[in-house]
Amino acid sequence: MGEALAAIDLSASFGTHKVLHHVSLQMPANCVTAIIGPPGSGKSTFIRCLNRLHETVPRATMSGTVLLGDEDVYRMDAITARQKIGMVFAQPNPFPTMSIFENVAMGIQLRDGKRQTYLSEEVERALVIANLWSEVKDRLKESSSKLSAGQQQRLCIARALALQPAVLLMDEPASVLDPFSTLRIEELIDELKDRYTIVIVTHNLQQAARVADRTAFFLAGEMIEQGTTTELFTTPNDKRTEDYVTGRFG
C-alpha cells in the first residue's frame, strides 16, 4: 500500500540559482497528485527533492522536510529513500546493454545481491503490474532497446515497481509518447493508485484533469495553489491559476 508523502517548506537551488521557494504540499496515500505549471516553474526539481535525486546533481542544494508517512526522508539513507520512493522519467531510459529481465531485476539485485531465488517471481510480478508481461514474457532475454517507446516506458515503470516502493514519482511520463501509448500509461496510472501513492508532473493540463485526484499549480518556483483537480480546474482561487488553466499563458 502507498504511504502519504508531505513536503514542508521545501526550497532548492542549483549553485546560487534558487529554483524552489518554501513549498509545502500534502500528497495523500493512494491518490494521484498532479504537479502542473509552465516550463521552469520548479515542478521537476520539486519531485526530484522528494526522493533525494536532486542531491546527485553537482552544486545542487535543498532545505526543508520531506515526510514519508512519519519518517523524515532526509534522515534516512538516501539509497533507502530512493528504493521507497520510485521514479519514472520523461525519457524512457531502460539500460540499453541489459535485457528486459535484467532491467527489471536490476534494482532488486543492487539491493539484495545477485543470486536471489525470488528474482524471477519479482520480475514477473512487476511486469504484470506494469501491464507488460503478456507482451514480453517470451522475449525476456532480448535487449530492452528492441521495445517500442511506450513499452520501454512501461518497462521503466516495472523497474521502479520491482522494488515495491510506497510512492511512485512520474516526471512527464508520457511527454515523448504517441497518443495510444499515452492512453496506456494513463490507464496504468489509474490501476496503480490502488497500490501506490503517485505524484505526476505534467505540462499537459488535459492529462492532469484525466488522471489526478489532486492538483498543485507551480509558478516561478512557488506553489500558487493546490486542491482537488475538479476545484482547481473549475473554481481556482488565484487569478494566476485561472489564467494558466484557461490557457491565457504557459
Binding site: 535525486l53 546527485t56 553537482p58 530512493r82 522519467f89 539500460f95 540499453p96 534494482g107 521503466c156 522494488l163
Partner: protein
C-alpha cells in the same frame, strides 16, 4: 522584406563558405593520406617493378622489420598495461566526481598533457631519468616515455566516452537505489566498454606510429617508428618504405578493429 532577403542571402553565403571549406580541407587531408600511402607503396614496391625478372624477396629485411615491430608492440603493450587502469581512474574522477575539489585541476592537467607534443614526453623522461638520476637507456625508461605520452591521451579519450553517456542513465540507476560505485560498475562501464576498447586501440596505434617521444634516446631503441626515421635520414628510402609499409598495414588492422569496437552501443 528586403532585410529578410538580405539575411537569407547572407545565411546562404555562410553555408556555402562552410561547405566549401569543409570539402576543401577533407580533400586536402585525403590527398595527404593518399600521398603518404602512395609514397610508401612506391618505394616498397620499386625493386619489384624495376627488376621484375631478377627480384627476390629480401627475407632478412622483412624479418628485421617484423622483429622491430614485435619489439615495438611489446613496449606499447607494457605502456598500455600501466596507463590504461590509471587513465580509467583519472577519467572517472574528472567525469563522475566533479564535486571533488581537485577535479578541475586534474582536468586541466590532463588537457594540457594530452595536447603536449610527443617529443616533450621524451624530454621530460630524458631530463629526469637520464640526466638527473643517471639511469641508462633501458626498456623501463622507454616504457616510461610511452606511458607519459599515452596516459593523458587515454584519460582524455576515456573522459569523452563517459561524457557521451547521457546523464539520464545515471539518474535512472540512482532512482532504483544504486550508489555511485554501482552506477559506475553496473551502468557506465558496461555501456562504454566497446568505446573504451576502441580508445585503447586508437591510443596504441597512435603510440606505435609516433617516433618523436623516443627520438632523443638514439636510433638503437628497437622501435619501428624510430627505425623508419633513422633509415630515411640515412638515405635508405627503400628499406624505410618497407618498414613503413609493415607499420601502415598494422595500423590499418588496428584502426579497423577500433572502428568495429566503436559501433553504436544501441546496435
Amino acid at each position: 522584406m528586403v532585410k529578410r532577403q538580405g539575411l537569407r542571402l547572407s545565411r546562404k553565403l555562410k553555408n556555402a563558405l562552410i561547405t566549401t571549406a569543409f570539402i576543401l580541407f577533407t580533400g586536402l587531408s585525403f590527398l595527404a593520406l593518399l600521398s603518404i600511402v602512395g609514397n610508401v607503396l612506391y618505394h616498397a614496391m620499386q625493386p619489384l617493378i624495376t627488376h621484375v625478372e631478377t627480384f627476390q624477396i629480401e627475407s632478412n629485411e622483412l624479418i628485421f622489420a617484423l622483429k622491430e615491430l614485435v619489439l615495438s608492440l611489446w613496449l606499447v603493450l607494457l605502456a598500455l598495461v600501466i596507463s590504461t587502469p590509471l587513465a580509467l581512474l583519472t577519467a572517472l574522477l574528472i567525469t563522475e566526481y566533479r564535486d571533488c575539489c581537485f577535479t578541475s585541476l586534474i582536468r586541466l592537467f590532463v588537457d594540457v598533457l594530452a595536447g603536449m607534443p610527443g617529443i616533450l614526453a621524451g624530454l621530460a623522461v630524458y631530463g629526469l631519468a637520464l640526466s638527473l638520476f643517471q639511469m641508462p637507456t633501458s626498456k623501463i625508461v622507454l616504457i616510461l616515455v610511452l606511458f607519459l605520452f599515452l596516459m593523458p591521451k587515454l584519460s582524455k579519450g576515456f573522459a569523452q566516452v563517459f561524457n557521451e553517456i547521457p546523464f539520464h542513465y545515471r539518474e535512472a540507476a540512482y532512482a532504483i537505489g544504486a550508489n555511485k560505485k554501482q552506477v559506475i560498475f553496473h551502468i557506465l562501464l558496461p555501456m562504454t566498454v566497446r568505446a573504451l576498447s576502441a580508445s585503447v586501440l586508437l591510443g596504441a596505434a597512435r603510440t606505435l606510429g609516433a617516433s618523436a617521444p623516443l627520438l632523443l634516446f638514439g636510433v638503437g631503441v628497437h622501435y619501428l617508428a624510430v627505425d623508419i626515421y633513422a633509415l630515411a635520414v640515412r638515405g635508405s628510402d627503400g628499406q624505410a618504405a618497407d618498414y613503413a609499409l609493415v607499420l601502415l598495414l598494422l595500423l590499418g588492422v588496428v584502426f579497423s578493429i577500433a572502428a568495429w569496437f566503436d559501433r553504436d552501443v544501441m546496435e
